[in-house]
């Protein structure tokens, strides 16, 4: 046994692979990344037909994530990670330290960025639903409820709030890099594999059954379909 291996063994003694993110959370996270990327590109290049489809996909993902935040696995639930101001300040005061324990799931500060990003994504999507395309080709499905002028105004707000969302995403990425470089904690790996190394005594994630996800998927699909036809049944 080489000295490096023995040192690794010593470091890993008393630790185990802990499940931290279930498959639905990981799929929703990465498909949201792809969806926002597609929406960004198609929006900038005025490819509004595909912009609409990717927008619907994002609406579906956000609805699913909100639902999973209520009934999903333990680390996905809002009650388990959204914290009050005191807990947030306490956590923020330890941010400069490198020896703090790993939070299982979102930490108190990360929770703010999750809620902020989800809220912004939802707001941008809702604005987009009412937005009017100046060429009249691919306006939002709910644009029939507003005038041309109002719809154009909402299209600009859609653009404006998207740029705000991009800044919050940039902050999220900066935080991940900060954890990786300064705190030596890899947050990206667990979001891919679903697992992280933790102490043996740490509580495991409680996984929600997939049938519950299926119910949500059916309801979310029905909502997105109703929205896509502008509720004109």
């Amino acid at each position: 046994m080489t000295s490096t291996e023995s040192r690794m063994d010593a470091a890993l003694a008393g630790t185990a692979e802990l499940r931290v993110w279930d498959l639905p959370v990981r799929i929703m996270h990465w498909s949201l990344v792809i969806g926002i990327g597609i929406c960004w590109w198609t929006g900038l290049h005025n490819e509004l037909e595909y912009h609409l489809y990717s927008g619907y996909a994002i609406l579906w993902i956000v609805l699913m994530r909100l639902y999973w935040g209520l009934v999903g696995s333990s680390t996905a639930r809002f009650v388990n990670f959204v914290r009050g101001p005191k807990a947030i300040l306490d956590y923020a005061s330890t941010l400069h330290r490198r020896d703090t324990p790993h939070t299982h799931g979102h930490n108190a500060l990360g929770a703010i960025s999750i809620v902020l990003m989800m809220g912004l994504v939802l707001a941008v999507v809702i604005l987009g639903l009412f937005a009017v395309d100046v060429d009249g080709l691919h306006s939002g499905p709910l644009s029939g409820y507003v005038t041309f002028k109002q719809g154009r105004h909402l299209a600009h707000l859609h653009y404006y709030w998207f740029t705000i969302l991009l800044w919050v995403i940039a902050l999220h990425l900066a935080a991940v890099i900060f954890y990786f470089i300064y705190k030596r904690k890899n947050l990206i790996g667990p979001m891919i594999s679903g697992k992280r190394r933790g102490d043996v005594g740490d509580t495991e994630m409680k996984i929600a059954p997939l049938w519950r996800l299926a119910i949500g998927a059916v309801v979310a699909t029905a909502i997105v379909w109703a929205v896509s036809i502008g509720f004109y049944f």
């Binding site: 005025n46 395309d133 100046v134 060429d135 009249g136 080709l137 029939g144 002028k149 105004h153 653009y159």
Partner: protein, 178 residues
């Protein structure tokens, strides 16, 4: 010899005085043109405002027809026919709304790009194509065929987009024109 030089100098003097007057006049005209070009007169402002209002009306008219298609219960007489008529009528004047000098150089806020006048032949071709589509849209509206309307609304939108893609500043997406 001295006389010869004096005559030459005199004629040069004479010519240069004349030349000076020409140069001064040309400078005044040029300066006047520059001033005319850079400071929008009330005519340019009115021209651009009216163009924007009319184009917005056309966008609103196409939206009204689109909304009928979304509702699946098409109100031909009260919505589709009059709005298709508006688009057709307005499109007839489309190419008159962009006289030289009514671009951003006018100093008036406009998303009309200088390319309109640089590639004017292409711009005119696209404008005429939009007129053709608008006339077709009007015919389809009168025929009251829902499937044909759907297809023609799309063709109309594409004709609008063809021009907007190349001749309308992308800043229009960032800023609120209202």
């Amino acid at each position: 010899m001295a006389i010869k030089i004096a005559v030459l100098v005199g004629s040069w003097f004479h010519m240069s005085a004349l030349g000076f007057r020409y140069v001064a006049a040309a400078a005044c005209i040029a300066f006047g043109l520059v001033v005319l070009e850079s400071v929008a007169g009330p005519a340019e402002v009115a021209q651009i405002k009216s163009r924007q209002d009319k184009l917005r009306d056309m966008g609103g008219a196409l939206k009204a027809i689109n909304d009928e298609l979304k509702k699946r219960r098409i109100d031909w007489d009260n919505t589709v026919v009059p709005n298709a008529q508006t688009i057709k009528d307005r499109s007839g004047y489309l190419l008159n709304w962009f006289p030289r000098g009514s671009g951003p150089e006018s100093g008036v806020k406009t998303y009309a790009l200088p390319a309109i006048w640089q590639n004017n032949d292409d711009f005119v071709t696209l404008g005429k194509l939009a007129q053709v589509e608008a006339a077709k849209l009007n015919q389809v509206a009168l025929s009251k065929d829902a499937n044909a309307l759907k297809a023609q609304v799309e063709a109309m939108g594409k004709a609008c987009k063809a021009c907007h893609d190349g001749y309308r500043s992308p800043d229009s997406e960032k800023e609120d024109e209202n």
